[in-house]
């Protein structure tokens, strides 16, 4: 992997001056991913925060070619672009190596765009799909998604007098994607930039589809001070809330293993979306969440063990 010195010299594809919030985790994720290749890229983006805030006509924050089609179809859209590229390359009408990236939020990926993503993965397009997961529909005002964690309060599943916010656990999208047996699937976080850029490099290099699920803290939706985005991103890893792992050609590997996972209550205390969980009557929910995390780690360890090459 390139050194930090080399990385900082790479030209920015997403320029400053876009209109994402100060302290937005998604723009950091996007920039780190784009450091993963030196080839020209064509970027596809589903409707969502990154799309609306980077391409308000007549301006664009993208130095690369960019296409936004709709909410649920960035995977299909970029698969069309990539197919056009192959058609032209086959005929010798284009020689240049170009990389194709799709960015979707968790709403556009876990929920409404899951079919489009699954189809594109199964067809084997040479593309990198990146989910910037901020755990709710943030662009439209913090509505619950399939990625929203258990216990979080959102505007469509708020904590109220009788309901403690979201009662279900989030969907394990990374495993769902891995089950397509594509060459490369990984989960990453923005605090661990080296791990993330390394994963992006691998994703761009493989022949076929690659998928990165990146936890992208959103201070508006998660209710923490905007300057704490990277601290929160780190806490997600330290508590085991967001394990950093990869599945490379079917082999599962945990990339960063906290020596001693911090208790999940530290994660819960750090964000306003969980504040109702601190009440005595909701203690059992915190315990449920802790158990779910511990179980997930057991599952991950099992997958790593089961897929180790002999």
């Amino acid at each position: 992997m390139a050194t930090l010195k080399e990385l900082v010299k790479r030209p920015e594809v997403l320029t400053g001056g876009h209109r994402l919030c100060a302290g937005c985790g998604a723009s950091i994720a996007v920039r780190q991913v784009l450091l993963g290749t030196e080839h020209p890229v064509v970027v596809g983006c589903s409707t969502g925060c990154v799309e609306v805030a980077t391409t308000i006509y007549p301006y664009t924050a993208w130095k690369s070619s960019f296409i936004h089609n709709a909410f649920e179809n960035v995977a299909a859209t970029i698969s069309g672009v990539e197919t056009a590229y192959r058609a032209l390359k086959k005929k010798g009408k284009i020689k240049k190596e170009i990389k194709f990236i799709a960015f979707g939020g968790d709403g556009g990926t876990y929920d409404i765009g899951l079919q489009s993503l699954s189809g594109a993965l199964e067809r084997g397009h040479n593309m990198v799909y990146v989910c910037y997961d901020n755990e709710a529909y943030m662009n439209t005002g913090i509505q619950r998604s399939g990625a929203t964690p258990c216990g979080a309060s959102t505007t469509t599943q708020p904590a109220g007098k009788v309901k403690p916010g979201k009662e279900q656990f989030r969907k394990d999208l990374t495993s769902i994607v891995a089950a397509h047996h594509i060459p490369y699937t990984a989960q990453a976080g923005i605090f661990h930039w080296k791990d993330l850029v390394n994963k992006a490099e691998k994703a761009f290099k493989v022949d076929g589809p690659a998928f990165l699920n990146i936890l992208a803290p959103c201070h508006r939706g998660w209710r923490y001070p905007m300057e704490k985005t990277l601290e929160i991103a780190k806490l997600a890893i330290d508590t085991g809330f967001w394990p950093l792992f990869e599945v490379e050609n079917g082999v599962w590997k945990i990339n960063i293993r906290p020596k001693q996972r911090k208790p999940i209550i530290e994660w819960i205390k750090s964000q306003g979306r969980y504040k109702h969980l601190l009440k005595e009557e909701n203690k059992h929910i915190v315990e449920r969440i802790q158990k779910e995390i511990d179980d997930y780690w057991k599952y991950l360890e099992g997958m790593c063990k089961a897929t180790q090459p002999e």
Binding site: S64, H68, N73, T83
Partner: protein, 393 residues
């Protein structure tokens, strides 16, 4: 010219696509369009074409992939019908708004519910305001030629709009006709290569497709789209002239049959025109002054041509193979009635909705329409504006 081949309408369309040899085809199978995708897939499998196929998991993804491919500057096609068109609806609008010249055969089939696989025009008529050009074909020969014609219309620089080539499900798509194919080279030269100034793959000159337009720009963007359809109205006849030089066939906005001296006229789209011509012949033999008009392009709507043609008659019936459920009749009727508003001395104009879900329309049904028109002329008034033809009530 090659010999005529016995082909179904779908096979004829697939042959048109083979000769066009698009760079990318993204499609999903649906009855009665499936045969087009199957036949074309065979051409791909045998290396007859060098098209890259995207075998998508839904029509929504078919149109989404077409948008991505067409925005990358390559010639892009798909085909669908009915529920498939309904599923891709959201992206159908985006394709035209991004000014992407995609060509899509639509094998007209009824919309659910109740589920039905047979012909009516509810699917494409529902998409009449999506900004696509729409051509309605009478038979397999027309479907074949219209598909080839459509490529040049869509990609004409003054137009740059996608085109639906509509043929009647089963009636045209599955009936075997003797089809006269053009020479492969003739079609190859006619379509040549797509030229575009706006490709996502031109990475030295990056561009942004599909940015957010707010209150300050959205309206201008839509106004330009309206202008593109106006341009299409004036530019299509020029493409049609060139096509005539190639094929000897005229693909005018509409076609007339025995309209000279006609007092009673019926206008319809697609395969019904063939049946209707027989009815006109029978009536003429009996001394009834009957005539017939076939509307070929519904978008852009050729208002002037339609008014001119139908003004020759004193009473006119518009046949619609779909309903708008507005209590005001079918979509073709509404458009034509509106077009006549400025006209003095206009004929009586009534509507017959027929053939939904593949209900057969025969010569006697159409003769009945002329009987209705005769009665109106006799009474000098219209009793029932919107009639349902051939249904149990």
């Amino acid at each position: 010219m090659k010999d005529k081949l016995a082909l179904t309408g779908n096979e004829a369309v697939a042959h048109a696509m083979r000769q066009i040899n698009p760079d990318v085809l993204a499609a999903y199978p649906i009855t009665p369009q499936t045969e087009i995708v199957m036949a074309f897939s065979r051409f791909v499998a045998d290396g007859v074409v060098d098209t890259e196929m995207v075998p998508v998991e839904s029509e929504h993804s078919a149109m989404s992939a077409c948008v991505g491919a067409s925005a990358s500057g390559v010639r892009t096609m798909t085909a669908t019908c009915s529920q498939g068109l309904a599923l891709m609806w959201e992206i159908v609008y985006i394709a035209s708004s991004l000014r992407l010249p995609i060509v899509m055969p639509v094998v007209n089939r009824a919309l659910s519910a109740p589920i039905n696989i047979h012909c009516d025009h509810s699917d494409s008529m529902g998409a009449r305001d999506s900004g696509w050009i729409q051509i309605y074909c009478e038979n397999g020969q027309e479907a074949y030629e219209s598909t080839i014609l459509a490529v040049r219309i869509a990609e004409e620089e003054k137009i740059l709009l996608p085109v639906m080539v509509c043929l009647d499900g089963f009636i045209t798509s599955h009936a075997v006709e003797r089809i006269q194919l053009l020479e492969d080279k003739v079609v190859k030269d006619w379509v040549s290569e797509r030229k575009t100034k706006y490709s996502l793959l031109d990475v030295e000159n990056p561009l942004t497709y599909g940015p957010l337009h707010l209150q300050d720009y959205y309206f201008e963007s839509k106004r330009q789209e309206a202008e593109a359809m106006r341009n299409a109205y004036s530019a299509i006849p020029k493409v049609v002239d060139k096509f005539e030089k190639l094929t000897g066939k005229r693909y005018d906005y509409l076609e007339e049959y025995k309209m000279d001296g006609a007092e009673l006229a019926v206008l319809c789209l697609s395969s019904t025109y063939g049946t209707a011509k027989t009815a006109v012949d029978r009536l003429r033999a009996k001394g009834v002054k009957a005539g017939m008009v076939k509307l070929r392009f519904f978008r852009p709507f050729p208002a002037k041509e339609v008014v001119n043609a139908l003004s020759k008659a004193k009473a006119v019936a518009i046949l619609d193979r779909s309903d708008t459920f507005s209590n005001q009749g079918g979509p073709v009727f509404n458009e034509i009635r509106s077009a006549f508003y400025e006209k003095k001395d206009k004929p009586f104009i009534i509507n017959h909705i027929y053939g939904l879900g593949g209900r057969d329309i025969n010569v006697e049904d159409i003769e009945k329409v002329y009987t209705d028109l005769e009665e109106i002329l006799k009474q000098k008034k219209v009793e029932t504006l919107v009639n349902y033809l051939g249904v149990r009530e």
